[in-house]
Symmetry: C2
Subunit: 209 residues, 2 copies
DNA sequence: ATTTTTGCACTGACCAGTCAGTTCAAAAAC
DNA sequence: GTTTTTGAACTGACTGGTCAGTGCAAAAAT
């Protein structure tokens, strides 16, 4: 459609502005929350006039909603890719789960502010973007559930596991461990954290190593 | 300390008012967030005049801060009690962990709104109550870490586990699974959810049941 | 008699959203 | 190839409303 360098009628400029606004909004909202973050702050950090925010987004809520959609979309794609890559390489479902744990850690490592904001909003009710959030969340969790189901069908996992709850628990494990990592031990390496979670995942905690 | 019926010199009346304000604030803030919740709303839901809020708390922030302290205090006591009860009954450290998982579920079952609000605030930075939250969080997590350390010392757990990270991961597992339970499958029983998490905890997921 | 609560008017700061006007690069006209 | 026009993108002062917190006299509870 259009190259970013020499462009004519299109709207590459607009896209760049929106990107700047996303980046400004994500850190501010992660730190302060949605309501405590002002549109003036977002505009200022993005290096843009307030009017530009409203030229590009219908409202503060819509800006946030599109930000959520964008971010969770990246995560879902990344999890999906990890699962497929493992399958193609002939790995087991446990390998796939492990690869997804790593993909999750990589994502949080790269976008800690987004993750923070996502967690803070996920279980709220009665908010404007509630339904959007529900949809994208389900798309992400479904990738994990799918692998669990395949594992049960293939006899790799017990058929007594509760797929939905187990998926939620696994996500929670990675999410909280990673946020703690970023908040309290940011100097540790991703491999290190991944190793600790792998150990837990494979039940090598109870029963001496 | 004091009975709610026949009390003398103290301030039982005041305490009752504060309790009403806690309860009103916790659900409103869980739903809407701190900044989006107004003092007028809190007062109205508590069935109290606005002036009363300020007679009992120095500010909106202080009210919230004391609410956080109060709530996490309950959780910590409950986890502590579960660990000690298991130890007294001669249970293993895995049993203690399992008992704490259940204690966590019972807490979230009883105070879902508080849990929601706690999660939403936990990883935020630059907020007034940040330091208070840090302290009480650490008190709660320390109970889990303590059991893990004892388990390592007793040879029940691998000495290669990362205590801090594993504790965070376990907390995350319970937290996210329970919030999903309350949000999306509230009809399920606590025992049911507990069973699913026990299975995961004891590594009976990989390896057919 | 003292503590606690009420009711309500008031203030001053803050903020989401608006809008009349500006900029500028590409397209059209000449 | 120079001038004119066009319109998307952007600007920032301004508006209307909201809300935390105050002040205080009267009432209720203990």
């Amino acid at each position: 459609m259009e190259s970013s360098s020499a462009r004519s009628g299109g709207s590459t400029r607009r896209e760049a502005t929106r990107q700047k606004l996303y980046e400004a909004a994500v850190t501010l909202i992660a730190e302060q929350g949605f309501s405590a973050t002002t549109v003036d702050e977002i505009a200022e950090r993005a290096g843009v006039a307030k009017g530009t925010v409203y030229y590009n987004f219908a409202s503060k809520s819509v800006l946030f909603e599109e930000l959520l959609r964008h971010g969770v979309g990246l995560l879902t794609a990344s999890l999906q890719e990890a699962a497929e890559r493992t399958a193609r390489a002939g790995g087991s479902r446990v390998d796939a789960l492990d690869a997804m744990v790593r993909a999750g850690l990589v994502f949080i490592d790269r976008y800690p502010a987004f993750t923070q904001l996502y967690v803070a909003e996920l279980w709220r009710t009665n908010r404007a973007w509630q339904s959007t959030l529900m949809v994208v969340r389900q798309e992400a969790v479904a990738v994990v559930e799918q692998v669990l189901r395949e594992g049960v069908a293939a006899g790799e996992f017990s058929d007594e596991i509760d797929v939905q709850l187990t998926a939620a628990a696994l996500v929670g494990m990675v999410l909280v461990a990673a946020l703690d990592w970023k908040s309290f031990q940011p100097e540790r390496s991703l491999d290190d954290v991944h190793a600790a979670l792998s150990r837990l995942l494979q039940g090598r905690v109870s029963g001496k190593g």
